[in-house]
Amino acid sequence: MGIKILTEHINVPGIETLEVYRKHGGYRSVEKALKTMTPDEVVEEVKTSGLRGRGGAGFPAGMKWSFLAKPEGVPRYLVCNADESEPGTFKDRYFMEKTPHSLIEGMITSSYALGANTSYIYIRGELMFVLRILEKAIAEAYAAGLLGKNILGSGYDLDLHVAPGGGAYICGEETALLESLEGKRGNPRNKPPFPAVKGLFASPTVVNNVETIASVPWIVNNTGAEYAKIGVGRSTGTKLFSCSGNINKPGVYEIELGVPVEEFIYSDEYCGGIWKGKQLKAVVPGGSSVPILPANLITKTAAGEDRLMTYESLSDGGFVSGSMLGSGAFIVFDEDQCIVRNTWNYARFYHHESCGQCSPCREGTGWMEKVLHRIEYGHGHQQDIDLLVSVAKQIEGNTICPLGDAAAWPVASAIRHFRDEFEWHIKHPKEAILPGAVYRGQVATIEA
């Protein structure tokens, strides 16, 4: 049992109410920051903490905050990215649903640090029931003087609103999110200018993930130096992992960064092992965009060292033998899962979600989907595997936003690690299309 920063009180009955939340130490960071600290001091604490963006990119949050432009007479905005749409990720939804005040507290303290007087939580439209939970909690916070004019007599004003999306994965990309928040199609913007200079309503804006913002109160209460002591190396603090797929205990787990991957998969404290007594085949450790790793490379690095649940260890070996921590969506595959089918499924997802602005992504994702579909359904050609590799390579790095990369990586990594499975599909189309057909090494077995 490691330290719990985000989920310590998450199962306390009534924690979604202001009363119970405050009884468990809620909103202390607001009192401390607004009454005893300057905004810059809060930014410094977050910098010292080493907290990294929890949405997927892992960029240091304090540094992102320090880039915010502060021209005279121009409003600044803090926008919380609650557009959680990466396949495999459901930690933010779980967190907001259970303990909405934790996010609101983080929004107030963070908005104060950035000098924002209006802040928004942009939540994916499918989570309208969570929006209502947040709005109820926000109304409680207004009534208690924690939002609105002159918060707790400090002279600081903040309005906080929740805005729903309309169903578009791309709006998790920060500039697409801002377009959407302005009531437009979610087409990502060219950078520069970065949101820190020209973001929401052409004003300086910081966009942070739910979990990032929710980590700020603990840092303010306990100092950044204390936060930095948790975890390993540059992977400081705790992280929420969304665990799904063929495991005994799917769910959200908060862990101190640095737990060995093997322990994380097999310990009853976390995933609880592979379901139905089956064998582990592969893991996608950070959401559908990150490279898939076969069983032997997820628990150990190529050099034979234990792989740990940290940003550095999960990416050890680069894309040749490593992956990424990403958003912390840990998707586990048992021995009966077909990698070709899964790769096609993800390719379809990215094709569906491509906004269509950049040709390599718009055309390339469709092309990959089509080729993978024909391999999966028994019409693959010998040259299709190389074709997929070539298309993926030509999307990667050639688009305005990272959706192109996100679409290319799962395809490229699946072929890198499971090429023989793709070849088997192409060489044995009749067997491959039978229901439940799975390639296992040299011998394909077909389940009854």
């Binding site: 990720t89 309309g166 578009a168 063929n246 769910g251 959200v252 997802f349």
Partner: protein
Amino acid sequence: MLPETADDNYKMAETINEIKFSDAGMAEIQRYISHYPEGREKSAILPIMHVAQAEFGGWLSPQVMDKIAEILNIQPIEVYEVATFYTMFNLKPVGKHVLEVCRTGPCCLRGADQMIEMIKDKLNIEEGETTADGMFTLKPVECLASCGTGPMLQVREKFYESIDSEEKLDQFLETMRNTEVETPYHQAQ
């Protein structure tokens, strides 16, 4: 979606005056508009489209979209271009309950593909179709942030999770047949 002839256009212009939001719906719209700075009212378009879809039978007709344009004082094309980008907005009539079934990877690892096939068989419809009695529309969607409890589906604002057997699916469909449509923001106020 758009009027094809001048006559259609004329008819549409007549019906737009008949599109009337409920008082609660209108209050909700005004509340969302008030969240944005002056001159940035258009920002509220997505929440307004959600309210409209809830008020007018689960889909956005051209007339409803034109009404939204009128409320926001923008051109109708600005509403159409947004409505067509986001998957939650239905641009054709739908059944009473739209079954938005997750079809993305993590749910498929736990049997979502098979669940979608079962729904098709049981309701005798294909993806995107509505049952003859107008009760259900099947609309497979991408990841709904419920991967730990798949297979799952969404109907309006509710998630129905861990539908991992035929019995649970039957039970769910039976429950839905006896479920009335609610507009949730009415209670929120």
